[in-house]
């Protein structure tokens, strides 16, 4: 049975700089990168190529020795120009200088009817599309040998300034359906496609077949797949579910129908500091400099791969993260402010009425937020706030305290299996005491995962 879930708890951060629904013709990116740090849980990366090698789109360039069936492939064809390593030879980036026109590693097209589940999983794992499949609990790249109890796809992104999939995935209907068909074969249970119940659903999702279509509405984090799982079929200890983003489903579908690893996607270039906020068609791992340079309102900015809640700060010529479908440019906030904590103001955004008491008078106002921390870290004082932005039957403060105390039983009992960083990202935003909530969540997950 498909479900209709209306969520009340949460908070929409209304930022300035939404992308207009048009494709901008920025100059295409020249270099692309695979960042092993994007893949959480990638334990022992091994690079399969050397600097100077030429690769095609879909050529394996990286594996995890702990999960060596899964291949991380080159998103474009071209030359490996750099293999960057950091301290203790930690692998940071593999950079590829792209060819003018991309050539693909051609594999045979897949007939879903003639292939059994394990053969399909093995084929997908070797293709380069597999890292799109994420395992819950822990939020790590799925293991092809597991059979998940269900697969969940959130068909909308409720993060601030997030791209509209209805626009970004136009014309991909055929591939999306093929991806869904493939996923349905991989699970013993259902494939859940969760759409935004507050808007009209794009045809690509409403026309999807062979899946449960559930409706979610409410403020962010209604679009977070973790929240949706909690309301549909919560994960208990010992259970495994998989999640895939709509872009990932399309990539899987393209591999099924065309036999190629096509990592192209339409991303949103957003934020208060870009002059032309719009969508652009590019490829996973693209260098963002051509989208950003010459497109800025001001000089002192922070470029974020992803959104402002869960994204990652990158350089002006940094690379788009594997799982990110947008870049956000906001002002850098490294300034002092005289009596900044005491002044009454209407410019700052706050979830708390102690600062935003009259903000209800102007609910549509778009705010420009910068990267200033707005205060220092303190012990937990205010209570009830985290609960009010977490639409799950979870007590975030108690869970975080259990993580701080490294109390394994407590973490399990309080629901660590049900969350990843993004599910409590709003807590980090609204926290009066400025705790690094997402970092704590990952620490807790790693404690449990490797115990």
């Amino acid at each position: 049975m498909s479900k209709i879930v209306k969520l009340k708890k949460g908070f929409d951060i209304n930022l300035a700089g939404k992308a207009k629904q048009k494709l901008a013709n920025f100059a295409p990116a020249q270099t692309f990168a695979i960042k092993p740090t994007d893949f959480i849980g990638l334990q022992r990366p091994k690079v399969l190529v050397n600097e100077g090698d030429t690769v095609k789109a879909g050529t394996p360039i990286l594996i995890d020795k702990a999960l060596d069936q899964v291949v991380y492939a080159a998103p474009v064809s071209g030359e490996i120009v750099a293999v960057l390593r950091g301290e203790k030879r930690k692998l940071l980036e593999i950079r590829i200088l792209a060819d003018q026109s991309i050539s693909y590693e051609n594999q045979e097209k897949t007939d879903l009817n003639s292939l059994d589940r394990d053969a399909l999983a093995a084929k997908l794992a070797a293709s380069g599309v597999w890292p799109n499949i994420i395992q819950r609990p822990f939020g790590i790249v799925a293991n092809p040998a597991d059979t998940p109890k269900a697969i969940f796809i959130s068909a909308f992104d409720s993060h601030p300034l997030a791209p509209d999939y209805g626009f970004a995935l136009q014309g991909e209907e055929k591939y999306f359906q093929a991806g869904l068909d493939a996923l349905a074969k991989l699970t013993s249970g259902k494939v859940h496609l969760n759409v935004d119940g507050s808007k009209s659903v794009p045809a690509i999702f409403s026309g999807a077949k062979g899946v449960e279509i559930n409706q979610f509405s409410g403020p962010h984090p209604a679009g977070n797949v973790g929240v949706q799982i909690h309301h549909l079929d919560p994960i208990n200890k010992g259970e495994i579910a998989w999640t895939v983003s709509p872009n990932g489903v399309v990539q899987i579908g393209k591999f099924i129908l065309e036999g190629i690893y096509d990592a192209s996607k339409v991303i949103a270039v957003t934020g208060s500091e870009v002059t032309n906020a719009a969508y652009v068609k590019t490829i996973s791992g693209a260098n963002v400099s051509t989208f950003v340079k010459g497109n800025l309102n001001s000089g002192h900015v922070r470029v974020i791969s992803g959104n402002v809640l869960t994204g990652e700060k990158i350089a002006l010529d940094g690379f788009l993260g594997f799982y990110h479908n947008q870049i956000t440019v906001i002002p850098e906030g490294d300034y002092y402010e005289f009596l900044g904590w005491a002044k009454p103001t209407a410019k700052k955004l706050s979830y708390h009425r102690a600062l935003g008491l009259l903000s209800f008078l102007n609910p549509k106002k778009e705010y420009v937020l910068d990267s200033n921390c707005r205060g220092e870290e303190r012990a937990f004082v205010q209570t009830g706030v985290f609960e009010s932005v977490t639409p799950m039957d979870i007590l975030p403060v108690y869970l975080l305290k259990a993580i701080m105390a490294e109390d394994f039983d407590e973490m399990e009992e309080l629901g660590i299996y049900e969350i990843v960083e993004e599910d409590l990202a709003l807590c980090e935003f609204v926290d009066v005491s400025k705790h690094p909530v997402q970092e704590l969540v990952r620490k807790g997950i790693e404690l449990i995962q490797y115990s």
Binding site: G340, W341, K348, L349, Y351, R378, F380, T383, V432
Partner: protein, 404 residues
């Protein structure tokens, strides 16, 4: 403000690692962050923007909410003085003089409380190398409001130091404490120096003047208790109290307004409610605790009525709301987020029990005419237990889901 910023930047190296005054870094840091919000930016991963709120803003909101009670308390201190010494029974006569008398008594207490507590905070911060906590902004104002204006200043200082050290710093500072700090200060005074904080003589400042004939400095609570002992209906006893002064001091309306003897800030139910409005509107205090606290007191008042074996138990329950420090205690003390219950269900139970206990202590215990202080402290200790069961219920729901 450029010159201030420049000044700070110039002094900064002195306090940073390797500087001459390195050990005083956190004292410098407290001053600097008070003047300027720091220039820290968010990390590489995780939330890239943060809510504009911080603990300083949150705490100052509570102080703002206490200002009506404080101003009222200052004026009322002067008013009670004039009333007792027979100078005037008119509420608004001699406005300036009353204000002066009040200021002369109350301001030193506030200054001493902030100075003593602030010093302890600073010493602990420097020695234990942690930032100075904003919690004391509130505590330093709360302590003066819950003691009589006649309290000797050395007692104020001693109680503040005791409370900050024993109730807070030994546990690790703001956020870690179990008991409400201001209530601990009052309890310390109550048990260490009962002569200056209980009885009929301490609530009204007389100075070197004599009280007029027929004046009694008793509080409404002790009048009500004695009425219960003597078998006189409480409302009659209250109405006939201090009639010699030409005022119906303990009428319901007058007690609600707060023109009665008592601790500096606690007498006015109206001012406490204004504070409650500010706290609830800004979302700083939990409305659940406030509502359930008042409801608890009323319910227990009704229960007392049902089993009334003396006149005090038969008193109309709404009188409990306006007598003594119940309103102030529930609004400002019980809602302290650190020492209160922290789960949403727990808050209802916690508030309700504070109301219950306050009335039980008031009516049945001859030694403590006011119950709110002990009720809040008692429930502070119990709050973790309430939370324990609420959290356990959450765990059980998760566990049951798994086995189904």
């Amino acid at each position: 403000m450029k010159f201030l910023r420049d000044l700070m930047d110039k002094q900064r190296p002195l306090f940073e690692k390797g500087g001459k005054l390195e050990s005083l870094y956190y004292a410098f840091e407290a001053g600097e962050t008070f003047l300027f919000s720091p220039n820290h930016t968010t990390g590489i991963k995780g939330a890239q923007v943060k809510d504009a709120i911080d603990l300083k803003r949150m705490m100052i909101t509570v102080v703002v909410a206490m200002i009506p009670a404080l101003l009222f308390g200052i004026y009322n201190t002067g008013h009670q003085h004039m009333l007792a010494t027979g100078e005037t029974a008119e509420l608004w006569a001699d406005f300036g003089d009353k204000l002066l008398v009040g200021l002369k008594l109350v301001l030193p207490i506030i200054i001493v409380a902030y100075a003593a507590g602030g010093l302890v905070e600073a010493v602990f911060a420097v020695v234990r190398k942690h930032p100075i906590n904003e919690g004391f902004l509130v505590t330093g104002m709360l302590i003066p409001l819950v003691i009589p204006a006649t309290t000797p200043l050395w007692q104020v200082a001693l109680a503040t130091v005791f409370a900050v050290v024993i109730a807070k710093e030994v546990f690790g500072g703001t956020g870690m404490n179990i008991l409400n700090v201001a209530m601990t200060a009052r309890a310390f005074l109550y048990f260490a120096y009962p002569a200056q904080i209980s009885g009929d003589q301490v609530w009204t400042y007389l100075g070197d003047k004599m009280s007029v004939d027929g004046f009694s400095g008793a509080t409404a609570l002790s009048v009500a208790y004695n009425a219960g002992v003597d078998g006189v209906p409480v409302t009659e006893a209250l109405a006939s109290h201090n009639t010699a002064l030409g005022t119906d001091m303990f009428s319901f309306a007058n007690m609600f307004m707060g023109w009665i003897p008592g601790s500096i800030g606690e007498t006015s139910t109206l001012m406490a409610l204004i504070g409650a409005l500010i706290l609830i509107a800004t979302g700083v205090a939990s409305w659940k605790i406030i509502v359930s606290g008042f409801a608890g007191a009323y319910i227990m008042g009704v229960v007392m009525n049902l089993f009334a074996v003396n006149e005090y138990m038969a008193m109309p329950p709404q009188y409990h709301w306006v007598m003594g420090g119940l309103a102030f205690g529930i609004v400002f003390m019980a809602t302290d987020p650190v020492s209160a219950a922290q789960t949403e269900v727990g808050k209802w139970i916690y508030g309700l029990l504070i109301g219950f206990l306050t009335v039980i202590i008031r009516v049945t215990n001859p030694a403590y005419p006011e119950g709110i202080m002990l009720a809040v402290l008692f429930m502070n200790v119990f709050a973790p237990l309430i939370d324990y069961y609420v959290v356990k219920a959450n765990k059980t729901r998760r566990l049951q889901r798994a086995t189904v």
